[in-house]
């Protein structure tokens, strides 16, 4: 009746998951209770849960990503602590069965449920604004994408108190992940969570490719798009090209586990090496999916905070597309040591190093953006300089790993672990925090407290290096990754030093949280009244903060690169705003519950499939199909915003802008 589920699936005898689960459940119940008591459900349902507005969806993605980032960070703290304690004969506080789940969950959560939602959240929020349009190509599909990602995250978290998570690492290599060696539900939780959210991500990729290629405001040709939009396009192209590989490969493993198929098994001719090839053909482009938008964020920040256009815009576009394409040709460097032979290893070693050309060009272009500029060292710029230092070194260690004989010494060692954290944290995470400071006012209408932001940066930067430099050294000393206990006592000092670094990182995370709380309390003082707090250069800064739901009252007509900068220049020269446009009614998409509905049944269905509750899985599938048909049957897709309403909102924006112009004129007047 309930498949292989029964009450003993709850790990009563294991204190850590039990206490964590109970705390999480209480927090969730508390939150739900608060919302109910305050009567916030209608507001939440109307404005957030069923919203198809890309800005709302973007914020929800970022919220999901931040919550999962905290969970992934907690896993990391547990891992570093265990390794610092379990040295020599000591066994630490986490037995292997549990430790192995923790490092698997850490990687899975960080890549699929923290980094991806955060990057996609930024893409969601910014791309339509930067393109001067009202929403993405498929707003309702966008909502479905978000909710499916949330569904995957939910499944991963359910594994904490019902059953267990995978113990195979964040990529479930066979034969270890086959039914013979992992007969429990752990790998199944992984497979369904990643598969469900992967479908959401693929739909996002399709959505953004279509948006960028087919929905730009008049005058915005390709070479007038902001750099972040270019990188969002490249990332989305990669998503469309490689996420199907992930879907297919995980489906093959699922078939092996559920139906006894032989794609990757030890017997009957299965080929585990094929899994390595397929999964890394997805896996390597995946990291570029994450890092390209991060580069885009830095491009925006370097130019805005230097007060100059980005240096070598066309070069940057070329480098981005170059990285996008070459990223799909390097996957074998993840298994140089599998014995493919010198010719194959050489080819992939060279293709991997060649990507450094694209990245190197970008670094130099950012540096020369600062040349001749007036660089303001506010918090986003601090993160950007921290990025240059950290990422360049991380990229360097990547080139070292791209040399096969060097990789023969360092594959799967702590050197590798230090390298990929170096580039992901230094690249993606630093970019996300920089972007947070930069675009928070646009999303919420007030800036973040600068002092706490600087503190958060310094703790993060120093903490990162104190945590990961010892890991580079340990890799050189021969330590391999994923050890639950360490037999060689000489490694103790570096492991303990790394733990000190983790404490510093915790301080950084705390500062980040405090910054948010303090900023909310001080929001009136930090209010962004003009919509353009940083003297920005792209179209999102033309809107008020927060932007109205329709983004632009009238779609802008773009005449050059840096669309908004041109508008500002003209306004300052002419000492007046452009004439008031003819306001026309606007059609906007209606809300839809299909996203949350689909995700609900995806979660139920996923859970049912994990526990082999076949009737429930069938029911969920039928319910999902019914939902699809009901949604497809709707007659009303859009609602109209009357011209007077558009005019009212836009006139308020124009008044604020006129006030700024008057202030500038006065300042110039007193100066001259």
């Amino acid at each position: 009746m309930f498949g292989r589920l029964d009450w003993s699936a709850i790990p009563i005898t294991q204190p850590i998951p039990m206490i964590t689960s109970v705390v999480i459940i209480l927090v969730i119940l508390g939150a739900l209770g608060l919302v109910t008591a305050k009567g916030w459900w209608p507001y939440l349902w109307r404005e957030w849960i069923t919203s198809v507005d890309h800005k709302r969806i973007g914020v929800m993605y970022v919220l999901l990503g931040v919550v999962m980032l905290i969970r992934g960070f907690a896993d990391a703290i547990m891992m570093r602590t265990q390794q610092a304690m379990a040295i020599g004969g000591a066994q630490g506080y986490l037995e292997p069965e549990h430790y192995n789940q923790i490092f698997s969950a850490h990687g899975t959560i960080m890549i699929f449920f923290a980094a991806m939602p955060l990057v996609i959240g930024y893409m969601n929020f910014l791309v339509p604004l930067q393109l001067g349009v009202r929403d993405v190509a498929f707003p309702t599909l966008n909502s479905v994408s978000f909710w499916l990602t949330a569904s995957g995250a939910l499944l991963v978290n359910i594994s904490l108190f019902v059953g267990e998570f995978a113990r195979t690492g964040w990529l479930p290599y066979p034969p270890l992940s086959e039914g013979t060696y992992s007969p429990g539900v752990g790998v199944d939780y992984y497979l369904w969570a990643v598969q469900i959210s992967g479908i959401g991500t693929l739909m996002t990729g399709i959505n953004f490719v279509t948006t960028v290629l087919k929905m730009r405001c008049p005058g915005m040709s390709y070479l007038r798009m902001p750099m972040f939009t270019w990188t969002a396009l490249a990332s989305s192209l990669l998503i469309v090209a490689v996420f199907p590989i992930l879907t297919a490969t995980l489906a093959m493993l699922t078939l092996d586990r559920y139906f006894g198929f032989h794609f990757f098994t030890n017997e009957a001719g299965g080929n585990p090496m094929m899994f390595m090839n397929l999964i890394w053909a997805w896996g390597h482009p995946e990291v570029y999916i994450l890092v390209l938008p991060a580069f885009g964020i830095f491009s925006e920040i370097f130019s805005t905070f230097s007060g100059k256009p980005l240096f070598g815009y066309r070069s940057m576009v070329a480098a981005t597309l170059f990285i996008c394409i070459v990223a799909m040709m390097t996957w074998l460097h993840h298994f140089f040591t599998m014995g493919a032979g010198a010719a194959v290893n050489t080819a992939f070693g060279i293709s991997t190093s060649v990507i450094a050309v694209g990245t190197g060009v970008k670094i130099y272009n950012w540096i020369f953006t600062m040349y001749g500029g007036r660089v303001r060292m506010s918090v986003p710029m601090l993160w950007s300089m921290g990025f240059i230092f950290t990422f360049v070194i991380g990229g360097m260690t990547g080139v070292l790993l791209a040399v096969p004989p060097a990789d023969f010494l360092t594959h799967n060692s702590m050197f590798l672990v230090a390298h990929f954290h170096n580039v992901i944290v230094g690249g993606v995470v630093f970019a996300l925090f920089a972007g947070l400071e930069f675009w928070f006012p646009k999303a919420f209408g007030f800036r973040l407290n600068e002092g706490w932001g600087k503190a958060a940066f310094w703790f993060a930067f120093i903490g990162f290096w104190v945590t990961f430099t010892p890991l580079y050294i340990l890799g050189m000393q021969g330590m391999t990754r994923r050890l639950q206990h360490v037999n060689i006592v000489e490694w103790a000092p570096m492991l303990q030093l790394s733990l000190v670094g983790v404490v510093i990182l915790i301080a950084g995370a705390a500062c980040q949280v405090i910054q948010l709380v303090v900023s909310i309390l001080q929001r009136d003082k930090l209010r962004d009244t003009t919509g353009d707090p940083w003297d920005g250069r792209s179209l999102e800064w033309a809107t008020p903060s927060p932007a109205p739901f329709f983004n632009f009252a009238v779609m802008p007509n773009v005449e050059g690169e840096e669309a908004y900068w041109g508008i500002k220049q003209r306004a300052t020269e002419e000492q007046q705003l452009a004439p008031e446009p003819n306001y026309a009614p606007i059609e906007m998409p209606v809300n839809s519950a299909v996203g949350v509905y689909t995700a609900f049944f995806a979660s139920v269905g996923g859970f049912a499939l994990i526990w082999h509750i076949w009737w429930l899985a069938g029911l969920a599938l039928v319910a999902a199909f019914i939902g699809f048909v009901v949604f497809a049957w709707r007659d009303v897709h859009e609602f109209e915003v009357p011209a007077e309403e558009v005019a009212r909102i836009d006139r308020a924006r124009r008044a604020a802008r006129a006030a700024v112009l008057a202030q500038l004129a006065q300042a110039k007047g007193t100066a001259s």
């Binding site: 059953g163 070598g312 040591t337 450094a356 040399v403 004989p405 010494l409």
Partner: protein, 291 residues
Amino acid sequence: MLGLGPLFLGGCSGGVLDPVGPVGANDAEILIDALLIMLGIVIPTILLAFWMAWRYRASNTKAKYLPNWSYSGRIEAVVWSIPILTIMFIGGVIWIGSYRLDPFKPLPSKVPPLEVQVVSLDWKWLFIYPQQGIATVNELVVPTGRPVHFKITSASVFNVFFVPRMGSMIYAMPGMVSQVHLQADKPADMFGVSAHFSGDGFSDMQFQVRSVPEADFAAWAQSAKGSSLALNGAAYAQLAKQSRNVQSYAYAAVDPQLFHSIAMMKTPPGPGPEPAGPGHAGREVSTVGRH
């Protein structure tokens, strides 16, 4: 070149920058060379970035403000050339190094290599010495000055055979035989690991490695023959079951067809853990018993 290694990352003895033989030494040399080439670019770049941010900081009114300057063909040419030239150089290192240090390539030597067959199990290593007719678990002894030809397979899941101080690692895969040629030129007590996560007992996959002079090696092989254990079918079936923290020991005799049989999967792979069952729904328990 190599002396810089320990200086750079002080206290690195016992690891990959402290090789005992030619393969490890060549691997490490390539690692250091590549590092130095890259540092030659990376350090000036980082310094340039910080200098640029400092010189053009907003409070520095002495620096020229060029609000519309965003292109220079000459700078572009340099900016593309530096990474291209660096990578061409690294590409050369990659090409030459990959061929020279291909694990399947035998090492030049006047003496014939020692043959060792390696089987990774859950969660220990089996070493078979076909020329000596003995086998060991979790202990590898090799003579100095002579190449050792390893043939490697797995009796369960993927592992990686890796002795950091001897150099190149390579995958141990079920149904396949990979090879690596390594050599120790001086006596040493070393450790080896599995460099690929293989399950709950993975941390115990560490094994002892000793390189000893030729005469001592012969003596050791002779003493192993005094063991009371023989690696026949029944003993192997017992060995293949999942176990952890296995202390090293030797077999006095070993079936000469055993390695081939394991590699061709005529001998079935080792069993996995106890599947999920009553009392632990959904959670597998390793047959070692601990939960």
